[in-house]
């Protein structure tokens, strides 16, 4: 007797008599009915989800349950006390989440589509150098070239500090070096507070690099007064290209 490939349902042979067709169809129909009925309870029905963001999680062997989406900014955490073994929760205050890691190159580097789910941003630059020496290193937010950057700072030269305060179309984050010597390369720590605010965003930063005539320690306290939340940051030098270095952006709760 012939059978179907997957479920082995009985079908008429090529030599079967036509007079037995009704019986063969009835046998096949009954087999299909039995199989479909049995499988109907084996799959995960789409009705298990009720809303956007719902997840399906296992609660035990061969058992699943709906996990409703959390609220904005929450993250999914392993939780053995929850029925599904996972639960949405708010990360502890002060926790860091790495959002991006980028190698510096080119005349400018833009990191875009920065998540808006955190309170502050922490930007770390390591081992950076460029094609030119002792040039201002600048950053911009949201590609904004308006005079929306108000900042004051110092350049430490060992025995001298300089202060400046101005509103410009860029914010300086340090001085460039073209030295590949590890101890000469540029490092920077940039804190951006309330970056999702539409009001003034506070920026505090410190950087260091070694240029020919002095050890550069550079720091500022500044404001970005653009009216939009910060979703992108662009880095570039006054002259020359970014040759190397790593930029890491962290979201801070």
């Amino acid at each position: 007797m012939a059978t179907t490939t997957n479920y082995g349902w009985t079908t008429p042979d090529d030599t079967a008599l036509v007079k037995d067709g009704a019986s063969a169809i009835r046998t096949l129909g009954s087999s299909i009915d039995t199989t479909v009925f049995a499988n109907a309870s084996a799959g995960i029905p789409k009705t298990i989800v009720d809303a956007k963001g719902d997840l399906i999680a296992g609660t035990a062997s061969d058992t699943v349950a709906r996990v409703a989406v959390g609220t904005n900014g929450q993250v999914l955490l392993a939780d053995s006390t929850a029925a599904a073994g996972v639960a949405w929760g708010t990360p502890a205050a002060g926790s860091l989440t790495l959002l991006s890691t980028t190698t510096m190159t080119g005349a400018s580097l833009t990191i875009s589509s920065i998540s808006q789910s955190y309170k502050n941003l922490l930007v770390l630059i390591d081992n950076a150098y460029g094609s030119s020496e002792e040039r201002e290193c600048y950053l911009r937010f949201n590609s904004d070239s308006g005079n929306n950057y108000s900042w004051g700072g110092y350049t430490g030269t060992g025995s001298l500090s300089q202060a400046s305060a101005t509103a410009t179309d860029v914010m300086q984050y340090g001085w460039s070096t073209n030295s590949t010597t590890a101890a000469h390369k540029q490092s920077a720590v940039i804190n951006i507070y309330d970056y999702t605010s539409t009001g003034h965003k506070l920026v505090s930063l410190n950087s260091r690099s070694k240029v020919p005539n002095w050890n550069s320690a550079f720091g500022i306290s500044g404001l970005y007064i653009g009216g939009s939340a910060i979703s992108s940051i662009t880095f570039f030098q006054g002259i020359g290209n970014l040759t190397a270095g790593t930029v890491r952006i962290y979201g801070v709760n």
Partner: protein, 73 residues
């Protein structure tokens, strides 16, 4: 034929998708970049001239820079 231009390259990293694009500057970016280079070149020239003028003046007065600082302190 391969495209040959001399415009500087820029890198854009989408932090959401992790997509990295390296491309040449567009017209607006290139125009701003050229303006920035001109400003920096002018500042360099002014700095060089000021340093030259200062050195020439000290030479005429027969003073070293430290001696001039002492007089002004």
């Amino acid at each position: 034929m391969p495209k040959t231009t001399s415009r500087p390259m820029v890198r854009i990293h989408n932090a959401e998708t992790d997509e990295v694009i390296d491309r040449e500057m567009n017209d607006a970016e290139f125009a701003e970049w050229e303006a920035q280079q001109a400003i920096a070149a002018a500042a360099d020239a002014a700095k060089t001239k000021a340093e030259g003028d200062k050195a020439a003046l000290l030479a005429r007065l027969g003073l070293t820079e430290d001696e001039a600082k002492l007089l002004l302190s």
